[in-house]
């Protein structure tokens, strides 16, 4: 199994990253903040005013280290990746798959099914840990119903409708999972998120999307050609497809844990005049420290039956997707929480 490499987060402003031999050096003015061997780093994430020297950029491209840029508020801006890996035959197969309506539907169905099953699991687990609750049971039943209907769908629009219905049911109960009086959640709001929970969800989704993107590039798939998500210029559709499986069980649960353990409080968020809510610098560090720790945790992959770190899940799923497209697997096995 691939080694889980670390992610370097640069949140300090006016920092300069450069390369010395095979190491990455982080400087602020003349002060050296750190030096790390490049072979331990798989991702560099820069927030705001961070300069990366061209030789380091080139080196990262060569070594497959992804550099991504975010604004200081945490909005995704750009990403740099080097030479394309993998072979053109796999990518051509992927494009043919994307043109074949029957295959698109069957794969999209699997993804939506996994998404619904995983979001239902969040509620089942809550019920198991914190006792029966009729409203939570109702949501779980509604999700189970969506799941069984998902199997029969044969039309793309119907599938989207079903996904929307499941999402609505799922988010309607999220507020009950929050055990911190300072926060509440009513409905999912995006672009921009106008309350702390939505801001956290959007932020964590965007980070995991980047990891899915890296994973897809790493196995040689084209992240911009999706199945459930239709192509749109600049949208990494396949990475978003891959993200669906991780939303509830990984991202949402992580956000809930942060809130419920009171690792983040209402002081950690600021609201702009436009209504958009974002995390403070300090809170973002707390979040990343917790996120990195979460990525190190090991689980047994339900399909591979192998111990893997959570951070490697996007890579595992991308690998399975590539195998399915190559014809080594009859079906794509989406990630299902056990």
């Amino acid at each position: 199994m691939k080694k889980l490499l670390n992610t370097l987060y640069i949140t300090r402003q006016d920092t300069y990253l450069h390369k010395e031999r095979e190491t990455i050096i982080i400087k602020q003015g003349d002060q050296k903040l750190g030096q790390f061997p490049a072979l331990t780093v798989g991702n560099i994430v820069c927030f705001g005013q961070v300069t990366v020297s061209p030789p380091l950029m080139g080196y990262c491209g060569e070594q497959g280290i992804a550099i991504s840029y975010y604004t200081e508020q945490g909005k995704f801006l750009a990403r740099i990746y080097g030479r394309q890996v993998g072979n053109v035959l796999l990518r051509r197969t992927q494009y043919r798959f994307a043109d074949d309506q029957q295959k698109v539907i069957s794969l999209a169905k699997l993804i939506v099914g996994a998404k619904i099953a995983n979001s239902r699991y969040v509620y089942l687990r809550q019920i198991r840990n914190h006792g029966e609750s009729s409203s939570l049971q109702l949501i779980s039943d509604r999700l189970a119903n969506c799941l069984s209907r998902c199997e029969q769908v044969n039309d793309y629009q119907q599938l989207l409708g079903l996904e929307g219905e499941a999402a609505l049911a799922y988010f309607s109960g999220l507020n009950e999972l929050i055990r911190n009086n300072e926060f509440s959640f009513s409905t999912r709001v995006r672009r921009p998120p106008t309350d702390p929970i939505n801001a956290l969800l959007s932020f964590v989704y965007s980070i995991i999307t980047q990891e899915c993107l890296s994973a897809l590039l790493g196995v040689g798939l084209d992240p911009f050609v999706g199945f459930l998500h239709k192509e749109r210029p600049g949208r990494p559709s396949l990475a978003l497809d891959l993200l669906e499986e991780f939303r509830a069980a990984w991202a949402d649960r992580f956000v809930l844990t942060l809130i419920n353990r009171k690792q983040l409080t209402s002081k950690d968020f600021v609201q702009e005049a436009s209504g958009a809510v974002h995390l403070t610098d300090y809170a973002r560090k707390t979040l990343f420290a917790a996120y990195q720790a979460r990525k190190q945790e090991e689980i047994i992959h339900p399909y591979l039956q192998e111990r893997v770190q959570i951070g490697l899940l996007p890579h595992c799923q991308a690998l399975l997707l590539a195998r399915y497209m190559r014809g080594d697997l009859e079906y794509y096995p989406p990630y299902l929480v056990k």
Binding site: N6, Y9, T23, I26, G34, P37, T40
Partner: protein
């Protein structure tokens, strides 16, 4: 696997100082400096062979000494640290600057 690399370089000549610098820099490419001439490198066997060869070509077998300690896969658990300057683990600690 975790490899601990220690060295003694004879620095009486300018040549020796150059070797010392080179060895330190090469070690930095692969791991973290934990004490003045002690490095911890968490690398796979293939990378280790490359590193070892680099070091062996730099050092002078007549004057210097190089030691490799193999702490194995669970090496991190075999290390205790006391006192100043705890070194971050570049593979596991959160690197947030």
């Amino acid at each position: 696997m975790l490899v601990l690399i220690t060295y003694d370089v004879n620095v009486t000549s300018t040549d020796g100082q150059k070797r010392l610098r080179n060895i330190a820099k090469t070690c930095l490419d692969y791991g973290m400096r934990v004490q003045c001439s002690v490095f911890e490198c968490e690398i796979d066997p293939a990378q280790f062979i490359v590193l070892k060869n680099k070091l062996l070509t730099i050092f002078d077998s007549e004057l210097d000494s190089l030691r490799f300690y193999f702490l194995g896969k669970k090496g991190k658990e075999k290390v205790e640290h006391y006192g100043v300057k705890d070194i971050p683990d570049p593979l596991r600690d959160s690197l947030i600057l």
